[in-house]
Subunit: 224 residues, 8 copies
């Protein structure tokens, strides 16, 4: 049984069995692709048998091109994601916590990716450590979730505080919002890596997609 | 019911309810502490009711001091860890993969911490991407584990390859071994953060302890 | 009236009127000086009329040399500070908060410098954000202090949390303790500079002396 | 009595009691927000009882939207700040010193923020260390102020010279103006952190707002 | 016999004997030059006797200007290269492997430069290590090539895997595609420099031209 | 036919078919290994059929242990290399050029590795660009070699000058000698990567071994 | 006699006696200033008695505004400089050497500034180390000049080669042209600072103005 | 007439005509050389006809070896320099200004090198900008010198202030003394490169030798 079928469409070779092999399907990263290229990649995935194909980091032109090609396609503008096909019925719940309003697009990408992977999520926004009682107010939700994703820019201090309040895995996503010594996300990245609360794990700056895949692996284990 | 009991021993204030709250107990980080300080911290944890107290990054003098104080203490020299009390019966299995022989001490810290947390582990060493067939040989073990920890220095390329072969969470630990452009672990850290296989999460350089705590959270969820 | 008297002792030229001009006296930074040089500098300050002369970053040999020269000299070993002369009667109170036990020497330097400047202080140690209730427990003390100094290494997240709980100036001191992505204090430095709670100000890595001088300026204003 | 009232407006949760708790009110950071979002945040603060609401880093479109919503709103274009409500009667005086003409917008943000916080200020511009007599000319003003804020880009050398001439707290703000080895503000940031005159404290690059809040805390202590 | 003839055209001095001396002709790097300047440089090289002149990093305006001047000029849009004159008959074969679709333009520059230097090439695209079987599928081609060029952004892990599968020289080209901790190509650059498989050599970020020249030197040796 | 035989000796798994597969045999990197571990690795390679086993980065204790185990072992102290077995008859010639006397150990590692790989070499030392005539004097040798390796620290300018004088591949090795802005080899690394003479390829800082393997691949192609 | 007259024009305070004091007049750095502000600064300098006022880093709009205000103003477009008043009769000669055509604007700024300071200059362009004979060809000119300024981007290797060929002071100017590992001028900056030929001194990236002032100081000493 | 005589002593090739060609003789950089190697280099220079040979960065063992070989050799311990032969009669005067006592060894290297080059010097130590009047006190000496060298660590602000007070060339030497955000000399290096007073030129961190050679070139021009 082959688990390495490839769809070769010239400028790209799509990994049709990635979901079977790794638990997460091949997804189209639209940044740096033309609308036509993104459409072609989505079509190849659907042709390869995927019940749902989706792309991240889509701009308006790409979203329009996708909806023109597939009438039923849905775009999540806040998350810059577009879906073709039916979203699976969600299982479990990941709590997605964002430190500031500017971290919203990345948090939206986390939630949109989880939806595509068939995992439920719940968002809590604007929970900065400068008002630490806002964090404490969600302690109950932190304990009840299957996993936690924390999105934060600037000082990136939130995941370390959150991880001290829950026994769930905390996936931390640094964001590139901010200015000056935030250095395009370097500051929150280093903060999260050195967080004193053990059990914090980190993904790339602005990588809401990757955080969602990691959280989904945990939740799926729990609910199988 | 208080979940925030503190043992105040002057130079340190130990968080006795951390295990109840976060799933991982307060652990003594011995680097930068005198042998006497480490002993005092361990004693306070045991006095606070912990069935097992342990310290990481212990040198020979500290290990000796601990064993002098508690005859039954056991040291894991490769991991630079010392335990006082009985290790819990392990559940589950984490696969701990190390890229090179120099990554051994960090991989040992992962395994020793898992043991203290009551999680089983299995180690596979010296699996570099320069001989990619060595990675493929362990694909079965990767699929069978509850979670995977990958320890690698220099180019840090192994976690990205591993994550393409398993649907389990891959916790990546960059190490500071190596020279030149490895820049004390910066190179593998950046490699792991930008790994193209989604689902890789990263902890601090040389932080075997933190990787173990993260993996343990996943396994415990699975086996509860 | 001259406020710029200089004591020229060959290898150093000491600013005898610095206290009159800037509110903080010339102090001997002993790192990189021989014991004899530190003794000579202290002697020149005393000869210039200072009621108290003191040195920071002294090692054991220097402390011994100072005590041999002046029988009444006192050394604060934890702070690596030595005093010759009488400490002034303290006014006011600065709360000195340290995140971890490894931050102790820098916190001690803050307190010892405040004592030399005639300012009272009170220390609270081992208050990490991973156990955020430990921070909340000292909220009353934070509100009652004249100023707050927060010393933290690794993620350096504590000052941002503290600043959300008090209306006093928060002087943040990053420390070089830690490992890996802490990068010798760079991580907590960036975290503190980008802290979302406004009103946090930052000094150089490990610069407990500078934090004390800044806090002292605030307290002295209040009590004049 | 609650000091943690939150105004939840969907995309943001505003901290209505921040002024009571920390001495500085919640302020709207408009960068990265749409004009409508900034208007909504300001409205929520006013609805929550704030006598004055203001936003920083506003562009022309946002300033226009605010003035359209509230006829009496005032914009300070140089400072990129907009106010709704009455400015409090100022107490005290902070001296705001700028090294070069390019540092003007940040210095203006300092002064505008101080005005909103009810603190008086006085600006001295274009005082570079290359003409050190320009610094000496303002020595009298430096001694008379309640606190000093120094704004400087490129080499960032001015705060260290100023701190040698006054016994007031010197809050240093590095700016991102300049080119080449200024590296977007990194050079003046490092210079200020390592300034040899003790008592210099530093805030984030371009963070005029934060410097004003810190200076205001000092002045308010003095005048209460 | 002179091997250092220079064509001085005012704003540039072209090295007419570079091919004789170093094996690679002077080539026009069009970035930062006006279309007219690029045309003038190409003309000078042709006037100096070159059978083929070409420019890299050409934008649309420059390509148009070149084709207007020489009707027979050919542009390779994907590679951003333009040729005037006849391409030499190719000898040998370099395998050009690209990790992702975004690395395409750099891989195209490699192939276009090789064509201009008279070396054959064959491209294999979208061969990421996250699907390591895609790499293994080309093992035969890797062994058959005269030299291998590997182009990769983000984690840059591909060259190290490839070098474990072939005894040919592997020239690695990091690219600036990607985001976050890729830091404009720094991450793949460090990965490639520290690759554990010996025999990997590295050129500048995005420098497809330089990689082609290096590979061509090897192939020409083989086929002379 | 398997080309992936592994010798598993517990702490290490040696790749016995690496030479057959990649053209360069598995070599023991002795840094970070005990003398006994290095001896065990060498023994495993010899047991696996290698006619020659060698280790790099050996200290005196390791060299002594190897010679005690195998009477005929030879150490090259300057290169910090030790051989067990007979060196092959050399073919071809690589010119190894060192910029300064401090670059000697790395240049020696290049030559010693080439000898173990069966490739001839010739060294030219102390050829700095500050006396550019010294470079020109070796132009004939540069043209006659099969490949060139250039080793340089500090400014690392030599490879770019050399590459303008030869049509052979130039493998550049930055070294960590030097001080200040050389930043442990970062300065020459960046210089070599941005060298204006195309055809320069770069390996890791101090990686004489890797440069030799790359050069050997070229020479072997030529002489097969 | 005062040598510290200031022209205070509100947004700027111009140092009218800088030429008398430091040998170089106050010059208007137009980047970041509006055309009107640059005009006002130039007017203030002329009103203050300067025989010639000039501005650097002027864009087209500013150049137009200056020429509209003073009919006799002259703009040097390549150098982005504009002059009002008569250029002094030049003395001496500085040789201005540029490594590549992209370094032209900075070299032009050097020459234009020298002209304004009354110093003669002579330019030699496109003298890269990849064709080292081009450098040797100008050895005579290097020896005959009063001082040498070398402008180079990318690897920045030229000043070190030049300094080995002349006994004159070599002022090196790194430029921000280039890509990849040139890191906006960081690579040539480090190269120049670590150049092995002693007697190379360095100014900020792209700072042609500063290099000219330094060279002018040397030449004026020679010709007084 | 050859000006490129080389003394080849095996491990080093000494440039005997460097003084004739560049105005500064070949000097032995003893760091990283054995005492015997330094002695051999000095002997070769003397054999080549140099009236004076000297070495920098000598440790005690090397100084002893040199004095054993040549009874008349003189060591300057503070400067870590040793001379063999007679110092030339000095001409001119360079003012060597050091910011702090820790900068003494580098300032001593400047003076010792100037002495070997036949240039007079005068030192002024411990002139920090925190007491800016100490700088103003030496304004007369700054104006009277032929050139100025300023040595400073930590914030490196002194050269910019000095350059505003003199029309002489100011050669700035950053030092690696200091801690924290001084980052081994990076902070003063960036400060000096971005100094607002034009006419400051910079050499490598701790490179007192290079600063002396640059200053000597200026003085020799003046006095020929």
């Amino acid at each position: 049984m082959s688990t390495h079928r490839i769809a070769d469409i010239g400028f790209a070779r799509l990994d049709l069995d990635r979901a079977a092999r790794t638990g997460a399907p091949e997804v189209v990263y639209a940044a740096g692709k033309t609308p036509a290229e993104t459409v072609a990649c989505l079509a190849a995935l659907l042709d390869g048998g995927a019940p749902l194909a989706f792309a991240t980091r889509v701009d308006d032109a790409t979203a329009a091109a996708v909806r023109e090609r597939w009438a039923g396609a849905r775009a999540d503008e806040a998350a810059r994601v577009v879906y073709v096909g039916d979203l699976p019925e969600p299982v479990g719940e990941v709590l997605v916590v964002a430190a500031g309003t500017s971290d919203g697009p990345v948090a939206a990408e986390v939630a949109a990716t989880l939806a595509a992977l068939g995992i439920g999520s719940r968002r809590v926004d604007d929970v900065g450590v400068a008002g630490v009682h806002r964090v404490l107010e969600v302690a109950g939700e932190l304990a009840a979730a299957d996993a936690v994703v924390v999105v934060a820019g600037m000082d990136g201090a939130l995941p370390g505080v959150v991880a001290g309040l829950t026994d769930r895995l905390v996936v931390a996503v640094p964001t590139s919002v901010g200015y000056g010594a935030a250095f395009e996300g370097l500051a929150p990245l280093l903060t999260m890596l050195t967080a004193c609360a053990p059990g914090v794990v980190v993904v790339n700056i602005d990588n809401g997609f990757g955080a969602a895949v990691a959280a989904a692996k945990v939740v799926r284990t729990l609910h199988r």
